[in-house]
Structures are given as structure tokens and as C-alpha cells.
């Protein structure tokens, strides 16, 4: 039981890390970036390749992956979202263009890495098993959890206490007013995507590190859970996404414990459906009512 809870927390920290990137872009720019899962997958593959070629340790590897992610994020915004700005169907079109770009990214991954899953070398990250109060945890899990916490707190600090964060909040409130007051909206948009994708790629690399390998469907497998997390947490709410990620991880672990692993994904969607119908602002978030 306790073991299941611990597993849930570890899975949840990855969900949260995946979802805060998703929700950050939505919160600031009202874009639902469906290329995010593909960027997440790319992070895993890039991490595996860089590790294999350079044998750099993991604490250097992850910043490298994040840098790649930031670049990818800027490209995603330039290609799939910026050209649509101001169009009547901006929101529909953004969904489709990001799906298309996500497909392109996955195709490029296939071109470079083929169809087989890629693996970290067995001895890349010497894993150790700890046992605390009857709960077994691996070093990878601990590193993942710790890093997820650090990144999330770091992001929260960045948004609440730095000039970039302040600009992001200004753009989220009112892009036109922010522009008039001298905020460089283009740069803030690019910065938001860079941050979001950096987090997404690191989350992908961490998940691959936990699994030991990554396939092209890595992102697709987590995409729908990501939707659930951002809605449960309240769309656009960072703390909500973090909490909801962990809650969902635990709920899934408990379902596996009590029923059967085939019912696992039912929990996420049943919870999601119930929350949307009963409390659309999410468990932790609040939604601004649009003015008439």
C-alpha cells in the first residue's frame, strides 16, 4: 500500500512536470500547444543520444536537454502560432497547426532514430535501491522527484519574482495593455514557449531515465493524462498543475492496487469529467469570468 503511494508520487511528479509546461503556455497566452507531447518525446531521444555520445553526467545532461528544449519551444511558437495571430479562427487553427508540427517532429525523430525505442546505456546512471520503512525507491526516482520539485519551485519563483515573470503575468492579464506599457510581447511569448518546452524536454528525459528507454509514443502516452492534470489543477494554474499531477499519480496507483491496471486510465478521465461538469475552474484554480 505504502509502496503504491510512493510509486504514485513518483509518477505524479513526471505528470506535473509535463503539465506545468502545458499549462504555462495556456495561462500566459491562451494557446493549447498540442506539439508539447512531441517536444517531450524529442527531449527523451536527445537526452539518450547526447548521453551515449559524450558520456556527460546527468547533471550536465539535463541542462543540455533543457537548452535544446528552449530552442525547440521558440521554433514551435514561430512556426505554429505566430503566423496565426489576429486571425478569426486563431484558436482552432492553433490546435491544428500544433498537431501538424508535432507530427513533423515525430517524423523527424523517426528519420534520425528509426522505429525502435532508444535506450540509455545500462551503466549510464548507476541505480541504487533504497529501502525506507518498507518502501523501496530507486535513486532515479529520488532524483526525479527532487528535480521536479526544484524545477517547479524555481518556475513559481521565476513567474512571481522576476522581471520576465512580471511581464508574463502582464501579458496573461491583457496583451494589448502590456504592449502599450512597453512590454515586449513578442519576446515574452518566445520566453514562455522556451520555458515551457525546456520543462517538457527535461520531463521527457527524466521519464526516459526512469524507464531506461524511450519510444516515439512516449509523449502520446502521457498527453491525455497531461490534459487531465491541467484541468484538475485549473487551466493556467501552476501550483494547481503540480498538486493535480501528484494527486493523479496517487489515484492511479491506488486504482492499480484496488482494481486492475487496465482501469488505471479510467481514474484520470472520470475525475476529469466530474471536475469539468461540477467545478470547471478545477480543484485548485480559479477562472476569470469573461466580460460581456
Amino acid at each position: 500500500m505504502l509502496q503504491q503511494l510512493a510509486n504514485g508520487v513518483f509518477a505524479g511528479s513526471i505528470y506535473a512536470l509535463f503539465a506545468i509546461g502545458f499549462t504555462l503556455v495556456f495561462g500566459v497566452l491562451r494557446h493549447l500547444n498540442l506539439a508539447h507531447p512531441a517536444v517531450f518525446t524529442a527531449g527523451a531521444f536527445v537526452g539518450i543520444e547526447v548521453a551515449a555520445r559524450t558520456a556527460i553526467p546527468v547533471w550536465i545532461l539535463l541542462p543540455v536537454v533543457a537548452l535544446f528544449g528552449a530552442l525547440a519551444g521558440v521554433l514551435v511558437e514561430r512556426i505554429a502560432f505566430r503566423p496565426l495571430r489576429g486571425r478569426d479562427d486563431e484558436h482552432f487553427a492553433g490546435l491544428i497547426s500544433s498537431v501538424a508540427l508535432g507530427g513533423i517532429v515525430i517524423a523527424l525523430l523517426q528519420a534520425r532514430y528509426g522505429t525502435e525505442p532508444q535506450s540509455f546505456a545500462m551503466d549510464y546512471f548507476p541505480d541504487r535501491l533504497f529501502e525506507v520503512a518498507g518502501v523501496r525507491v530507486t535513486l532515479t526516482q529520488l532524483v526525479t522527484l527532487g528535480l521536479a520539485l526544484v524545477l517547479m519551485v524555481g518556475l513559481a519563483w521565476l513567474v512571481s519574482a522576476t522581471p520576465l515573470g512580471r511581464s508574463m503575468r502582464a501579458v496573461a492579464e491583457n496583451p494589448t495593455a502590456a504592449k502599450v506599457l512597453g512590454v515586449n510581447v513578442g519576446r515574452v511569448t518566445a520566453g514562455t514557449y522556451a520555458l515551457s518546452s525546456a520543462l517538457g524536454t527535461v520531463a521527457g528525459a527524466l521519464l526516459a531515465l526512469n524507464l531506461g528507454q524511450a519510444g516515439r509514443d512516449l509523449g502520446a502516452s502521457i498527453e491525455l493524462v497531461g490534459f487531465a492534470v491541467i484541468i484538475l489543477g485549473g487551466l493556467g494554474s501552476l501550483w494547481g498543475a503540480m498538486a493535480a499531477g501528484v494527486v493523479l499519480g496517487i489515484a492511479e496507483a491506488l486504482t492499480i492496487h484496488l482494481f486492475d491496471s487496465t482501469w488505471k486510465s479510467m481514474v484520470a478521465f472520470a475525475l476529469l469529467f466530474a471536475v469539468l461538469v461540477l467545478r470547471p475552474r478545477g480543484l485548485f484554480g480559479h477562472v476569470k469570468v469573461r466580460e460581456v
Binding site: L84, I96, L101, G103, T115, L224, F227, D260, F269, F273
Partner: protein, 563 residues
């Protein structure tokens, strides 16, 4: 000739049918993505319920399965729609995705579906059968477009509030599109099962949803043949690549992704923009129509048409409107003035059903306060908005045609059967709309989109749209804002002309000169309460009004003061 291509051709048809189930919700502006769930329920139900052998010796199971599937899909959509349709945009999308995934998990775990292994059925669907279904759907959507219901769909897509104020029942329209989507998805599910002969839960997963959405948007959801184009394109691209010898596994998704991206970035209306010719500029309908004669007479001058008592609206700790009593009599031109924030717009929003009052009672043309907007519109209330709410992707003429919603009859079913009466009704609506465009002087711009109009023209267009409803009570919220003094004077004379025709006008305005010229009675609001009421010139001279409205020192009668 088509031998060997049968499968491809049928796959295009199936893709188009799936895309139509997205098309119908996108037409009404709803991002609903539960189609995979509806298709799955329909396919499983019909394969399990319908006998596997031809019925009565000759009727193939798919012919029986289709109506079963459509009914199951429609019923499921109705049941899901009841709680879910309160949501909008991304929230609606994700809730419906969640529904689809829940169906998949249940089907995957249930015994009657044979779990992940799925069911086997005989293959009954041939390519001509699939294309007959496509043709039927295309016909249904072709006839829907320029009908009263089709315009209601478009109006809800472009602006729900404005659609409701024009008498369109927004809740019903959204539900109708949702149910139609469920039914079409059900048809798709059944056809899929009897074409591939195999049914597994994984068939109806999230990627099916993405495919359907992509096909519908790629083809274009503003034109009835969009789904066919989208499906043809997405199916043909890999075939062309194969023919060119580009078989590497990654080239196909790369090229498809790149083409999709190119279309969405450079062809905003989807592929159908390439095929739909420029529509000819609309022309004045023939002179043999005197549509205005056939309309119901307006109430006799002086009849009370609205009475409210103690009307109040509270937002949190703010009393936007407090204890307003108001009586409106037929034929009068009632002006409402007051400083910004005095509660004028809130007051008319309550009178037209956009906001329910916190307290107070009364009826407007017999409709109790607190009813939904379309009820007021159907009773004869028509309005414009302070910030114009036009249907931006419809032409000027179509905007006004939406206005005729409450004075015309539904034509869709009769249009399907080509009944002459439907054509008569549509021409009558057209004549009505055209008359209003001429009245406000926009007939020469009937074919443009509202975005191409000047600010003053946009306001005139909104008035024409409101007038097309043949209103008993016309509400204008700051109609002269942003107009120059020539345009404002024209507007004042238009309002007086309407009053001569017996239309009751209630208007909010800051342009004092225009108010004094046009209205027969004036109500002054300040801090949510009525502070003066009566004959315009007397009220305007009232010291309390001067102080509240113009400020104590500005009593030197600035004509176009915008406070």
C-alpha cells in the same frame, strides 16, 4: 477501372463521414471531440444487436445497423450533452475527450465486447455503399447552409450572445449540432465495423479524434464539401508518395504534417477555399415582394408593452442597478442617459434577457424577467450592443438575414424536399433583410464582410440586423458612439422614422443633442437609480440631472459631451 483502388476509395469515404461528424459541431462553433466514444458505442451496439446474417434473406446487416448506430450515437450525445454542453472552448474539448477515453476503457474491460481482442463481423460495406452515405451527408449539409437553421448554426458559432438576442435558441442549437455529430459518428462506427470486419477498442482512440478534427478543419468547415476534400487529400497524399517511390516510413508523416501545416497557415478557410468561387455580389430581390405588408401589426400607440418594478442587479458588493421602476408604452422613444457606470447597459441587459436581475419583477412584452434572451427576441424585443457584436465571418446581408430569424419559419426540412414554399419563405426573408439594408443605406455593401465596414457603418449594420426582426421594442445601446455629427443626425431621423412606423425605441446615448432631438421621454440614471424622468427638455434642465450628468460646473450645455 476502379479495381484495385476499392479500398482506398472506401477509406476516403469513411474519412469524410468521420469528418462530417466534426464538421457539424465546428459549424456551430463547438469544439466537441467525443466522436470516438459515440462511434465506439454505436459500432459495438449495432454489431451485437443486429443479426449477422442477411435479414429476410436479402437485407444486409449494415442497412439495419446504420439506423441503429445513428440512434445510439445520437442518444449517447444527448445524454452526454446535458451536463457537458454548459462548457465551452477548450473545456468542452477536454471534457468530451475524457468521455471518449472512458468509453474506450470500459469497452476494453467489458466482457460483452470481448475486451481488447474485439469482435469479428462479416464485411458488408462496399465502396459504392460508403459513397452513397457520403452523398447523403453532403446533400444534407448542402441544403442546410443557406437555410434558417444553417444561419442559426453560423450565428451561434460567430457570437452566442448576439445570436440569442436575435431569437436563436442557443442551447437548442448547440444541442442539435451535438446530437447530429453523435448520429454521424455512430454511422461512421457501424460502417467501419462492417467494412474492416473487425472491431477493437483501440480503433476508437484519441488518434481517431485527432484525425477527424484534422480532416474537417483541413477541408474547411464553412463549406459543405469540406470533409470530402479533407479526406481525399489526407488519403491521397500517402498514395502519391508511394507512387513516387518515397516509401521510407518517416517521409509519409513528415510530408503529411508539412502539407497540413501549410494549408492551415496559408489557407485560413481550409482546402475548400481553393474550390469555392467568389460568390456573386447579392442583388436586390425582385420588386414583386412586399414583405413588410405580411408582417404582424405592431401594438396600438400608447399600449403598455413593458412594466418592471423594483428591478435591481448586484455584482458582489456593487449595486449596478437599484430599485428601478419602468413602464414603456408602445410608440414612444425612450431615452436613457446617465454618467458612465450609472447602470444603463445593465438595465437594458436585464430587459433583453442577457442578465438575470437580482431582484424585481415584471414582464417585457409578456415575457417574465430572467428568461433567456431568445424568448425576449421571439416576443418582439430586438437590440444592438454597446460594442458591436456582428457575425464577422458572414456577409453583411447574411448578418441581417439572421435578424429575420424570429419572423421567418424553419425552412431546412422543406428545403431537403425542394418544396416551393421553402423557397418562398427564404425569398421573403431575403426581401425583409434587403429592405432593412436599404433603410440604413448599406445595400451597396451587402456582399462585404463586416470587417470591411467603417465604424459608423458597422453600427448601422447592427441596427439593420435588429430591425430585420420586425421588433415591437427596439433597444439601442449607444448607437451614435463614434459617429460624426452628420451620421448622428441621420441616425436621429432614422429613429424618428421608426417611431412614426409604430416601433417603440429605447435607447442609451451620451450624445445629448441627439437624445433631445429624438426621444419623447427621458429617464436619467445615476448610481443605478432613476433620478429624473419625463419630458426631455424639462428633465435635461433639472438641476439634479445637470449636476449628475454634466458635473455641477458644466451646466453650459455642451452638446456632444462624452462624460
Amino acid at each position: 477501372m476502379l479495381e484495385g483502388y476499392n479500398t482506398i476509395i472506401t477509406v476516403i469515404a469513411l474519412g469524410a463521414i468521420l469528418a462530417y461528424s466534426f464538421h457539424v459541431v465546428l459549424m456551430a462553433g463547438q469544439l466537441s471531440l467525443g466522436q470516438a466514444g459515440f462511434a465506439s458505442l454505436a459500432a459495438y451496439t449495432s454489431t451485437l444487436v443486429v443479426p449477422a446474417e442477411p435479414i429476410a434473406g436479402s437485407i444486409s446487416p449494415v442497412v439495419v445497423g446504420l439506423p441503429v448506430g445513428a440512434a445510439v450515437g445520437a442518444a449517447a450525445a444527448f445524454v452526454v450533452g446535458l451536463p457537458v454542453l454548459r462548457l465551452r472552448g477548450v473545456f468542452l474539448a477536454i471534457a468530451t475527450i475524457a468521455f471518449g477515453e472512458m468509453v474506450r476503457v470500459v469497452v476494453n474491460n467489458a466482457e460483452w465486447t470481448n475486451g481488447a481482442l474485439g469482435l469479428r463481423v462479416d464485411k458488408w460495406v462496399t465502396f459504392d455503399f460508403a459513397w452513397i452515405i457520403v452523398a447523403v451527408l453532403a446533400y444534407l449539409f448542402w441544403r442546410l447552409g443557406p437555410s434558417r437553421s444553417g444561419r442559426a448554426f453560423a450565428a451561434v458559432r460567430e457570437d452566442e450572445l448576439a445570436a440569442g438576442s436575435m431569437g436563436v435558441d442557443v442551447v437548442r442549437t448547440r444541442m442539435a449540432s451535438f446530437i447530429a455529430s453523435g448520429a454521424i459518428a455512430g454511422v461512421y462506427g457501424v460502417l467501419f465495423a462492417y467494412f474492416f470486419g473487425r472491431l477493437t477498442p483501440a480503433t476508437f482512440d484519441f488518434s481517431l479524434t485527432v484525425n477527424g478534427l484534422v480532416t474537417a478543419v483541413l477541408g474547411g468547415y464553412l463549406v459543405f464539401f469540406g470533409p470530402v476534400l479533407g479526406a481525399g487529400f489526407l488519403t491521397a497524399v500517402p498514395e502519391v508518395q508511394k507512387a513516387l517511390g518515397l516509401e521510407a516510413g518517416w517521409i509519409h508523416p513528415l510530408v503529411t504534417g508539412a502539407l497540413l501545416l501549410a494549408v492551415i497557415l496559408f489557407l485560413p478557410g481550409g482546402l475548400s477555399t481553393l474550390f469555392s468561387r467568389m460568390r456573386p455580389a447579392p442583388r436586390r430581390p425582385g420588386p414583386d415582394y412586399a414583405p413588410l405588408d405580411a408582417l404582424d401589426p405592431l401594438p396600438d400607440r400608447g399600449t403598455p408593452i413593458a412594466e418592471v418594478r423594483g428591478l435591481a442587479k448586484r455584482y458582489g458588493a456593487v449595486d449596478a442597478v437599484r430599485g428601478v421602476d419602468l413602464e414603456i408604452r408602445s410608440g414612444e422613444v425612450l431615452g436613457i442617459i446617465g454618467p458612465n457606470g450609472a447602470g444603463k447597459t445593465t438595465l437594458v441587459n436585464m430587459i433583453s434577457g442577457l442578465e438575470p436581475p437580482t431582484a424585481g419583477e415584471g414582464t417585457i412584452l409578456g415575457v417574465p424577467l430572467g428568461s433567456r434572451p431568445h424568448r425576449f427576441a421571439q416576443a418582439g424585443v430586438s437590440r444592438t450592443f454597446q460594442h458591436s457584436k456582428l457575425f464577422e465571418r458572414l456577409t453583411v446581408l447574411d448578418n441581417v438575414l439572421v435578424g429575420t430569424h424570429v419572423v421567418s419559419r424553419p425552412t431546412y426540412l422543406r428545403r431537403l424536399a425542394w418544396l416551393p414554399s421553402a423557397r418562398r419563405d427564404e425569398r421573403r426573408a431575403l426581401a425583409l433583410a434587403w429592405a432593412q439594408l436599404e433603410r440604413v443605406g448599406l445595400a451597396d455593401r451587402a456582399g462585404l464582410r463586416p470587417g470591411a465596414l467603417s465604424y459608423g457603418d458597422r453600427r448601422r449594420l447592427e441596427i439593420a440586423r435588429a430591425l430585420a426582426a420586425h421588433p415591437t421594442l427596439l433597444i439601442l445601446d449607444e448607437p451614435a458612439a463614434g459617429m460624426n455629427h452628420v451620421e448622428a443626425a441621420e441616425l436621429a431621423s432614422l429613429i424618428r422614422g421608426l417611431a412614426d412606423d409604430g416601433v417603440t425605441v429605447l435607447f442609451i446615448e451620451h450624445n445629448v443633442k441627439m437624445v433631445l432631438e429624438a426621444c419623447t421621454r427621458l429617464v436619467v440614471l445615476d448610481f443605478g437609480a432613476v433620478i429624473a424622468e419625463g419630458e426631455p427638455r424639462e428633465v435635461a434642465a433639472d438641476p439634479r440631472v445637470v449636476e449628475a450628468y454634466l458635473g455641477a460646473e458644466a451646466a453650459d450645455d455642451e452638446e456632444t459631451e462624452h462624460v
